[in-house]
């Protein structure tokens, strides 16, 4: 913390009206097997300081990796120089300023936060970790059509100290763990992949080793293998209008792309349009726009247990919280930073400004954003569907720059006819427009079916930064959706 305080003080002495500093130590471990070989065995460490300053309404940011092994005192000595670089930059770019940044009320919380966990995954032996992956990979052996079998796990421990010129002093330790399997078959001119429990390397949570063992990867390998082989000879999902039941591991990306990203207030005002895009969810719609059907309640929550973005504070020192983004179908709230909350007159930021590592300034990021459960059982929902397709596991996603026209493909689909699951369908692809889609939602499964799904690789910003978050979802039905080929 002394390093952060020293940086903040140096920035103030150099003329900054506001400064915050983050010292980040990131330790990670990634292991992956593919076809019996180790294709990833990486243990990474990163330690460095990022300083952000506001000088006469202009931002400046500077960052430097620090040599922890040379002693913290030596590292601390570099803090003033990093702060001076940030101030120099802010002052220089200020000559092009059109409208200065206003931050709103001060945020001076002092606090601690640590991810709760049962078993520290970094203390589990490497032998045990590899044994778990070997068993998982072996569970997918046995089909000659299989061209790849993959089993992997990832662990992240991010320790962060941050201080601001408004008196904030915070320390948090965030622990994230995840694992998954995937297998690909090639036959009959098709290449088909099945992943469990989700794409993006599996399912990740803010949790310890207990999350990984709880996934029971090896119990699912045989089914993934058989489904990937069967998909190579399955009929393509036919085009046309049908009811769509999305399983949670696909619905989570639907939430992410068509609710989360358009809800970032910097996009709404065009500040991300140079790469990531803008948003149709403009401020005139707040409080009145029908985003979805009455059943649709979407809650952002950076305190929910297990969420990949569950933490004590964001990277602007604002304490975490929760709020409705969509309530009873009506659009009710944004993800904000301090700057953008002030811009629309909100009393306080939603605490969703985050940075990747020490080397990036914070930008608005989606936090844990979930579709609240309804009251259906999945079996009843299928039985209630006359002509539909049940779609499982993300395969491909694409959405326009205003987050309206999207097209998604899942790894597998199952035809539903007269209330019964029927034949397997290859490459089910549906296309729709965001509000129309969410207004088609007429049934959501209950809390027993609801779980958090992690997105460990969300990209935004320019230069791009990667962040992580979770989306809670239970299977849900959307009426008369357009399937395309």
């Amino acid at each position: 913390m002394d390093t952060c305080i020293k940086a903040v003080q140096a920035a103030e002495q150099a003329g900054a009206q506001y400064a915050d500093a983050r010292l980040v130590r990131l330790v990670s471990e990634d292991l992956a097997l593919r076809n019996g070989n180790v294709v990833c065995a990486e243990a990474a460490e990163e330690f460095g300081l990022g300083v952000r300053v506001l000088v006469d309404g202009s931002w400046g940011f500077a960052a430097l990796p620090l040599a922890e092994g040379a002693g913290l005192a030596a590292a601390r000595e570099q803090a003033p120089a990093v702060a001076a670089r940030a101030v120099e930059l802010a002052r220089a770019v200020g000559s092009a300023q059109v409208r200065g940044v206003q931050l709103g009320p001060a945020e001076g919380t002092v606090g601690e936060y640590a991810t709760p966990f049962e078993i520290n995954p970094f203390e589990v032996s490497l032998t045990d970790k590899l044994a778990l992956l070997q068993e998982a990979e072996a569970s997918m052996v046995g089909a000659q059509e299989t061209v790849s079998r993959e089993a992997g796990l990832g662990l992240r421990r991010e320790q962060q100290w941050q201080a601001s010129s408004e008196g904030a002093r915070q320390h948090q330790v965030l622990l994230r763990s995840g694992a998954g399997i995937a297998t690909t078959a090639a036959a009959h001119g098709h290449v088909e992949r099945r992943s469990w429990p989700a794409s993006f390397g599996g399912n990740y949570k803010s949790a310890g080793w207990e999350h990984i063992t709880g996934l029971d990867l090896a119990a699912h390998g045989e089914r993934m293998r058989d489904e990937s082989v069967a998909l190579c000879s399955a009929p393509a999902c036919p085009a046309g209008q049908r009811d769509l039941i999305l399983m949670g591991n696909q619905l989570m990306l639907q939430i992410h792309e068509s609710v989360g990203h358009p809800n970032e207030l910097d996009r709404v005002f065009g500040h991300e349009v140079d790469l990531a895009g803008s948003s149709f969810a403009t401020t005139d719609k707040l409080g009145t726009f029908r985003y979805g059907s009455d059943l649709v309640n979407l809650v952002a929550d950076s305190t929910v247990p297990g969420g990949l973005d569950t933490r004590g504070f964001d990277d602007e020192c604002v304490p975490s919280g929760s709020w409705h983004v969509v309530k009873d179908g009506i659009f009710t709230g944004y993800h904000t930073s301090r700057e953008w909350a002030a811009r629309i007159g909100e009393e306080r930021s939603r605490a969703t400004a985050r940075a990747e590592g020490f080397g990036n300034p914070p930008i608005i990021r989606i936090t844990n954003l979930s579709l609240m459960p309804g009251d259906w059982r999945l079996d009843d929902l299928i039985a209630d569907t006359e002509d539909g397709v049940l779609c499982d596991t993300v395969r491909m996603w694409s959405i326009d720059q205003r987050r309206l026209n999207f097209q998604f493909t899942t790894e597998i689909g199952w035809e539903i006819k007269n209330g019964k699951l029927g034949r397997m369908l290859r490459s089910p692809t549906y296309q729709d427009t965001t509000p129309e889609f969410w207004n088609r939602c007429d049934a959501i499964c209950d809390a027993d079916h609801w779980q958090l799904w992690g997105v460990p690789n969300c990209g935004k910003g320019n230069p791009m930064q990667v962040a992580e978050m979770s989306h809670g979802a239970a299977p849900a039905r959307f009426r008369s959706v357009n399937f395309v080929q």
């Binding site: 180790v38 065995a41 040379a70 120099e88 930059l89 220089a92 098709h190 694409s398």
Partner: protein, 478 residues
């Protein structure tokens, strides 16, 4: 761009650091890569600069390899990384890599590390110019470009959003069998999106080797035709054309794809098509097509890190020399790129396209070049009876790897072409089509290439293309 770390250009210091770590490793084979980066950027929008950053970074990767216990071919291997030059930290990275390697299964067909080197590399003048410039001068030059973009947009009541970014990168790699290589590269980029309040926008981008290429020394808005300024002019011109776009039906059209639109398609061939692993695993568009004329005879694609217009490092992630590889010659598909492991596995030459090992992906062509043709912009348009001109695609993604079926949205200017003339803007459309089919249907190739990226990673060099029967599958209201 100043810090307590070694200079990006100081190959001797970076190599010495890498060699010192190699020497301290107890592994049977060790490879160490040290990357030093200086990166500065300014993002801007209607309020002026919205983010400005000046960042130093250091990344050390230690690859440790152990012979199998009890003998036999192959290696157990692992990698550890660190952001610190301190001996205690690098020693810990070696320890972590060795500990991981010790428990890893043997990759029996993994070949030993190689010693050959691509030889000494000159520091590109742009990198020297970028790093020699004082921070104040560099920020001043960057801010002038930003202000010029802001003023240009303000004069036409357009909302700006853009980026000016300068990066210098020095990479040294040493291994325990005697390899020692170093190279430096620079990158300067400016992009601008200029948007109308009521919809419609223009976009342009320029990617060069240094700020001096982007905006020659001393150049500012009043000083002449710097390329950085032409980005502004091009974005504004596009925005002027793209006002009040009209609806148009989805369907098949002849299209003229500008370089950025081509790049967002072709990058998927880089990620998932031209690598040896995908071919071996039957997941590539090359499968069953090698030696066939699957594309238009107008299409030739190579990977060439030595290309002076937009080159890359002369060695790959293991220090092996990157060779130029002809991937498509006059429409005929050729063999994929390899790295050391996949070359040994398939009994082929190592083309030098590996990334840091061990890695699940396999070899990648990271410096793709689609060869220029003969068609001027007027020629490209002249061949279109009724079609569309596409500036850029947004969020292109892959549905199927064997035919590289892709989908994505047009963005920042889509225009109706009638009888060879650009008539007016149309609302954005979604395409869903196969890259194999698209490249088979190319009827003309532009005579000027540009370096372009897309939403996901990577950049390549490509001219514009004219494509017949390009499939648009849905529409938007904007």
């Amino acid at each position: 761009m100043s810090s307590s770390l070694p200079d990006c250009r100081d190959g001797a210091a970076l190599l010495e650091l890498a060699q010192k770590i190699v020497a301290a490793s107890p592994a049977d084979e060790t490879e160490v890569t040290v990357q030093r980066t200086e990166d500065a950027y300014v993002r801007f929008a209607d309020s002026g600069p919205t983010q400005s950053a000046d960042r130093s970074d250091l990344h050390i990767a230690v690859r440790a390899r152990l012979a199998p216990q009890g003998g036999g071919p192959g290696f157990r291997e692992a990698r550890a990384t660190s952001s610190s030059t301190a001996e205690a930290d690098t020693a810990r990275a070696v320890e972590r890599a060795v500990a991981l390697a010790r428990v890893s299964p043997v990759t029996a067909d993994a070949p030993g590390l190689a010693a050959d080197s691509c030889g000494p590399q000159a520091i590109p003048p742009g990198v020297t110019a970028m790093l020699d410039q004082s921070a104040a001068d560099r920020i001043a030059a960057t801010t002038r470009l930003v202000r010029y973009a802001l003023d240009g947009c303000a004069a036409e009541s357009l909302a700006p959003a853009g980026l000016v970014q300068l990066t210098a990168l020095g990479t040294a790699l040493a291994n325990s069998v005697g390899r020692g290589v170093f190279a430096a590269r620079g990158r300067a980029a400016m992009a601008l999106t200029a948007s109308h309040a009521q919809g419609g926008s223009g976009w342009a981008e320029d990617i060069r080797g240094s700020l001096t290429d982007l905006a020659p020394a001393g150049a500012g808005p009043a000083d002449g035709p710097a390329d950085g300024i032409s980005v502004v002019e091009r974005a504004l011109a596009k925005a002027r054309q793209n006002r009040e776009p009209q609806s148009i039906a989805a369907g098949e059209y002849t299209v003229v794809l500008e370089p950025a639109a081509v790049a967002s398609l072709l990058l998927f061939a880089s990620y998932c098509g031209f690598g040896a692993r995908e071919v071996a695993e039957e997941s590539s568009m090359l499968c069953g097509r090698i030696g066939e004329r699957a594309f238009s005879p107008l299409i030739s694609i190579s990977d060439d890190a030595a290309d002076r217009r937009h080159g890359g490092l002369p060695f790959d992630g293991e220090g092996n020399p990157r060779h130029r590889v002809a991937l498509v010659e006059e429409g005929v598909l050729r063999e994929p790129v390899t790295d050391a492991l996949w070359a040994a596995r398939l009994g082929r030459e190592n083309t030098g396209h590996g990334i840091g090992q061990p890695d699940p992906h396999g070899p990648l062509p990271q410096n793709l070049i689609l060869a220029c043709g003969q068609a001027s912009r007027a020629d490209l348009l002249a061949g279109v009876k009724r079609g569309l001109l596409v500036t850029q695609f947004h969020y292109t993604n892959m549905i199927e790897p064997r035919d590289l079926t892709l989908t994505g949205m047009t963005r920042n200017g889509t225009f109706l072409i009638e009888d060879g003339e650009v008539c007016g803007p149309v609302k954005n459309l979604r395409f869903t089509d196969s890259l194999v089919r698209i490249l088979a249907n190319v009827s003309a190739v532009g005579d000027e290439a540009a370096a372009c990226g897309a939403l996901f990673d990577g950049e390549l060099l490509t001219p514009a293309l004219r494509v017949e029967g390009f499939r648009f599958t849905s529409t938007t209201d904007f």
